[in-house]
Structure formats: C-alpha cells, structure tokens
C-alpha cells in the first residue's frame, strides 16, 4: 500500500466533511500502514466509537476506491508514539503489544513514572518565610531518603511550589545515587495504572513494581478521594515502602486529616512522618521568584518591573509565571527591552482581568463627569460648544469602544441622526491632531473607560 493512500483519504475526507468534523474526529487519528493493512489509532474510546459509527464506512469506501488494492482497516484505541515497544519483548507481532495502551500488554516498567523535571532543583527554589520549613524538611529528606521524615507530606494551596520541592528531592536523590529508582507521578496516573493492571490481570506486576522503588513521589493525593480500591492498593504499597525504609513523598492541597473521602487509616499514616505546610509567598519572595525565573529564561528583568508584577499578582506562583511569560513573549516579539511601560502594556489585559464592558451609558456618564456637565445635557438639543464638544467626544468614544451601529449611537444621544455621529467622529479625529487639549482628554477618557 502506498504511503500516500491514507493522505489521499484524508484529502477526500477534508473536502467532504465540515471543517469542524474533520478537525474534531479525523485529525486525532494516527494511521499506521502495514502492507495491505491500515491500522487507525484513536486516542480514546470516545473518538473510536464516533469514528466507528459515523466515518469508518466512508473511510473504507475511499480506501478501497482504486479497486485493485484490498485494504484491511482496523480501528483501535492507542498511539504509536507515546509508549515505545519494549526491548525485551518479542518484536512487533501483536498490535496490542506495540500500540495499544488502552488495554493490552503490560507497560514497560521503566516508563511508569514521569521523568523528573531537571529545572526543579533546590538551587532554583526560591526560599522565603512562607516555605522555609518545607524547604528545610525536603532538603533533609533528599540527603537521607527513607530515614529523616517518612512520609514527607507537603501540603498547601495551589501553585505554591509543592511539586517543585518534590522534584528537587527526587533530583537530589538521583544526583547522589544515579541508580536510585525514583518514581514521580500524579495520583491520577497511579489510579489509571492500577485500573489498567486490573483489566489485564497484571495486578501482581503492578504491586511488585511500586513496592520495589527507592523513592515514590505522588502529587496531589487529594485526588485519591473516593477511589477506594486505589486507596487500598496504595495503603499496601505505602506500608511495604515504609517497612523497606524507602522514601515516600506526598503532596496535597490540605492537611491529611482534612481530606474528605480518604480512608481513616491512610489519613493517620500520612501523619506519621512530617506534614509540613507551604504558605503563599510574601511580596519579597514573589519578586525573588520572578527574578529567578527570568534568569532561567535568560531575560533581564528590572527590579521595579518585578515589583510591579509581584504586587499585582498575589495568590500563587503559576499566575506570576504566566504573567512573566507573557512579558517575555512580547519582548521576544518586539525585540524591545523590558521596561515598566513595556510590562504595563504587555500585561494590560491580564491585570485588568475583567472583560471590558463598555456601554454607551457608561461612556456618557464618564464623559459627563469628566467635563463636569450632566448626562441629560448630552442628550439635549443644546448646541453651545461647552456641551456640543463633550457630546462629540462621547459619540466618537462610542464608535471606537462599542460595536453599536451609528444609528443606535445617534439614538442614544437624544435621537440624533447617524450622519451627526459620523460628523462627530470625523470632527474629533481632526481635533485630536490639531488641539492638544482634545487629544489629551480623549486619551484620558479611553484610559478610564478601558481599565
């Protein structure tokens, strides 16, 4: 089968389906062509079923369209990219073994955890009053895994650095002992792994694997809540690891006892070691975090800009990071250095963080206030300049800041014609250039209305 056959099929489908159908259902398919067989891999059951119901027949028709080639098409859940074939297993024979991670061969045990993030180290962790204790405890655990505090239970709100510390411990353990089997994973992955193991009757392998690691790092264990079978399995894993003096590190959004839906025996065991809290960082720490992240990105971030961002974003580090990324992205795009003005501009919409709802009413009120006249005067027939000029400014602002039609805008100003609005818009555009005062007024009003 020629490689381009599936591509041709894609081309046909793209022209036959709506763009949304194509992008939603067909693009996620991964196609593997082998001889006269076409294996279509869908990322999940949902996509597979939809393809099966709505598109498979058409795909078969198109693929068989040339007549002389008989193409066998199979549709499975899986991906050929994320789980590579396991070296020690027999070479590609059964599709399930190679491709199907939705329920088939056991996953290669070495790949189970997620790779530790090399950027999350103690060196890149910014210490402050809010996280001092957590950092100190983590550092001790990293130096003496399995001995100092077991389990180490880091808890606190979102985006405060729990995961960073956890990775830092893992990285340090590996640094000291490159052969150490350190496994980091999110609690969801543990649950998913267990479910898969149960489905494929490989629960013993699952147990053996998790009970044999040197350090087990599980993030966000509050997501174990309500998952009783996983909790039970984790309970035994936990006990086995502790007995073998292997290190267990857990993070959670709250103190162990406060997690609803978690078995009592787990709660009490989580409290055996050292539960340590991370608090939201204070201003100076937030500034230091920004500067550390900027340095990591090889960006020069002036102190005053760091303070500016840190003062406005207080709740968590992810928001700080997001804001910094936005500033850096703008700087990369424009090639300009990061100054106060630049940062303010880059973060304008982010810091306002509210949809700017500018209405005609609002504009009229603001303009009237600005020129110290009454809103009713904007609606009136009066034509002396002290009223007419603000009215024109208000109309021009309505045209610029709202999507109302010109007749609607005219209506809102005492039932005026749309040509009056048009005249106002032109007049103000002209005056902005020739009269500094009007230019300033206009800029001030825009600023007031859009922040």
């Amino acid at each position: 089968m020629s490689q381009s056959l599936w591509d041709k099929c894609l081309g046909r489908l793209e022209s036959e389906l709506t763009q949304q159908q194509f992008n939603t259902w067909i693009r996620p398919l991964h196609a593997v062509e082998e001889g006269d067989q076409l294996r279509l891999l869908a990322p999940n059951r949902f996509v597979r079923d939809r393809i099966h119901e709505n598109f498979l027949q058409r795909i078969s028709e198109i693929m068989g369209g040339d007549g002389d080639t008989m193409v066998r098409i199979s549709l499975e859940i899986g991906s050929s990219s994320i789980e590579a074939p396991v070296p020690q297993q027999s070479p590609v024979r059964s599709p399930a073994q190679t491709f199907n991670h939705g329920g088939g061969a056991p996953a290669p045990s070495q790949n189970r955890g997620i790779t530790l993030n090399p950027n999350y180290t103690f060196a890149t962790f910014v210490e402050g009053k809010s996280n001092q204790l957590a950092r100190a405890a983590s550092s001790q655990v990293a130096e003496n895994p399995g001995e100092a505090y077991n389990p180490l239970f880091l808890y606190g709100g979102v985006g405060l650095g729990k995961t960073h510390l956890m990775h830092a411990i893992g990285n340090r353990i590996r640094e000291k002992n490159p052969n150490a089997n350190v496994v980091y994973l999110h609690s969801e992955r543990f649950v998913a792994d267990m479910v898969k193991a149960l489905q494929r009757n490989a629960i013993n392998e699952f147990k053996m694997y998790y009970r044999s690691v040197d350090a087990l790092l599980i993030d966000d264990i509050q997501f174990f809540a309500g998952k009783e079978r996983s909790q039970e399995e984790f309970f035994h894993t936990f006990n086995a690891l502790l007995e073998g003096q292997r290190q267990v590190i857990l993070t959670c959004d709250r103190y162990p006892k406060e997690v609803d839906g978690l078995e009592e025996r787990l709660k009490s065991r989580f409290g055996w070691g050292l539960p340590v809290a991370i608090e939201p960082p204070e201003l100076e720490t937030r500034v230091a975090i920004l500067q550390s992240k900027a340095t990591l990105s090889h960006v020069d971030l002036p102190q005053e800009v760091a303070f500016f961002i840190a003062k406005r974003l207080r709740s968590n580090i992810r928001e700080l990071e997001g804001a910094l990324r936005r500033v850096i992205a703008n700087a990369q795009f424009t090639g300009r250095p990061i100054t106060m003005e630049f940062a303010k501009d880059a973060l304008r919409d982010l810091l306002a963080l509210q949809d700017k709802l500018v209405t005609i009413d609002n504009i009229q009120k603001t303009v009237a206030e600005y020129y110290k006249i009454r809103v009713a005067e904007l609606h009136s027939k009066r034509r002396n300049r002290s009223i007419a000029r603000p009215r024109q400014v208000a109309m021009a602002l309505c045209k610029e800041l709202t999507n109302h039609s010109l007749p609607e805008i005219g209506d809102a100003f005492g039932g005026r014609d749309h040509t009056t609005v048009l005249h106002a818009v032109k007049k103000i555009a002209e005056l902005k250039e020739t009269e500094t005062k009007i230019g300033e007024d206009y800029a001030n009003l825009i600023r007031t209305l859009s922040s």
Binding site: L10, Q19, P43, R45, V158, E319, G322, R325, Q354, H404
Partner: protein, 226 residues
C-alpha cells in the same frame, strides 16, 4: 448559474479557517507566539465571534500540514458531552480546546481537564485553549484547575478596528463569490451593529438574498433588502 446543488460546495469553501485568512488586526503578537513560540500552553479569550475558533482550527490545519496529529474540541458542542473525550489526548501533538466556558463549574469536566493538563505538560505536548473570558472569570470551581489555566501565556484577542472589519467583510464576501465594494462595505459598517457575530450574520443574509434575487450587492439592493 447558482443552482441549489452548488450551495454546499460554496459553504464548504467559506468555512475553511486558515492562518492565511485570519485578519490579524491587533493580534500580531499572539499570532507570532502561536506560530513561532515554544510555549507549551497558550490561553486566549475574547468576545463572541472575534476569531478564536478560526485560530484554533487553523492551528490544527497547520499541524496537519506538518504531519502532526491534533484535535479541535469545541466543548460547547452537543457531540462532546462527556469528559471521557479528554482521555488519552496526550498521545496527540496538539490539543485545541474551544469554548471552555461551557464546562466551567462542572466538577467532572474540571477534574478531567485538570488531569489532561498535567498529562500534556508531562508529555510536553502543546495545548491551546480558547474561552469567552479570562481564567479567573470563568467560574471554575476547582482551584487546582484555575491555577493551571493561569500558568500559560494568556492573551485577550484584540477585536478588529473598523478598517480591519471592512477588509474582513470584503474577504469573507469574496470567499463566497460575492463582490462587496468599498462603498457597500462602508455603508454596512455605518448602519449596522459592528460586532463580528452580527457582521457574520449580516453577510449570510445578504449572500442568500443576492443569490435569490440574482443581483449584485449594491447600496440600493442592500437598502431595499435590509
């Protein structure tokens, strides 16, 4: 000329959202980042019909050209009614989630999305999310999710100025085989609501009317029809 059978084809043509036919307006920076940046996750928000879906679908199209797998998931779509649709998506190269506001406040969806974001991050796969509002204004119930939504580079999609809207109207009209002169386009912008959703709808109606009447789009025709 314009038989009914030709209609679907015409509809097809005008639907194709490409980066090439996206009117950039004030969004150069965002577009640059989407196309050249190395950001793993970008969040964009803006008013209805300001081009979010267009951008997301164009990104999927572009990924396809580069031989990458992708998925475009408009979460408000009736077909995508179960959070299971998010399973296993980390096996794809690019995920575009549109209309995020539709799942905000639904605990099952929020947890599923939270997990998906973690998996995509771990797998280093690209994620682009679009919504009507900024993450903090969506009414997300799960703080873990909200903080992750805030992690990326967040852009508010700039709405088009009238000059760009004029170009937009003319290009969309041209895609449908309609000729929309400057005078008519200006006439429309002066007399009708200028938000993109209304302009889309207006063009739709004019398209059908001119087809039915077999007349060109002139000011007298538009005035008469509207």
């Amino acid at each position: 000329m314009a038989s009914l059978q030709q209609l679907p084809l015409a509809l097809q043509l005008r639907d194709s959202a490409l980066l090439e036919n996206f009117i950039i307006g004030g969004n150069e920076n965002l577009l640059y980042n989407l196309c050249n940046g190395s950001e793993q996750y970008i969040y964009l928000w803006g008013e209805q019909a300001c081009g979010k879906s267009h951008l997301l679908q164009a990104l999927c199209h572009r990924a396809g050209i580069h031989g990458l797998t992708s998925a475009y998931l408009p979460l408000g779509h009736a077909e995508l009614n179960e959070p299971d649709i998010l399973d296993g998506l980390e096996s794809l190269d690019l995920i575009c989630l549109d209309e995020l506001e539709h799942i905000a406040g639904d605990p099952d969806w929020e947890v599923a999305l939270f997990h998906l974001i973690n998996r995509l991050r771990d797998a280093g796969k690209r994620l682009v999310i679009a919504a009507r509002h900024a993450p903090g204004k969506l009414g997300i119930g799960l703080p873990d999710l909200e903080s992750r939504l805030n992690w990326g580079v967040i852009y508010q999609l700039a709405t088009l100025g009238d000059a760009d809207k004029l170009i937009f109207l003319q290009e969309r009209a041209a895609q449908r085989g309609l000729q929309l002169g400057n005078d008519v386009a200006e006439f429309l912008l002066k007399r009708y609501p200028r938000d993109m959703a209304s302009l889309f709808e207006l063009l739709d109606r004019l398209d059908k009317a001119s087809l039915a009447a077999q007349r060109k789009l002139t000011i007298p025709f538009v005035r008469e029809f509207l």
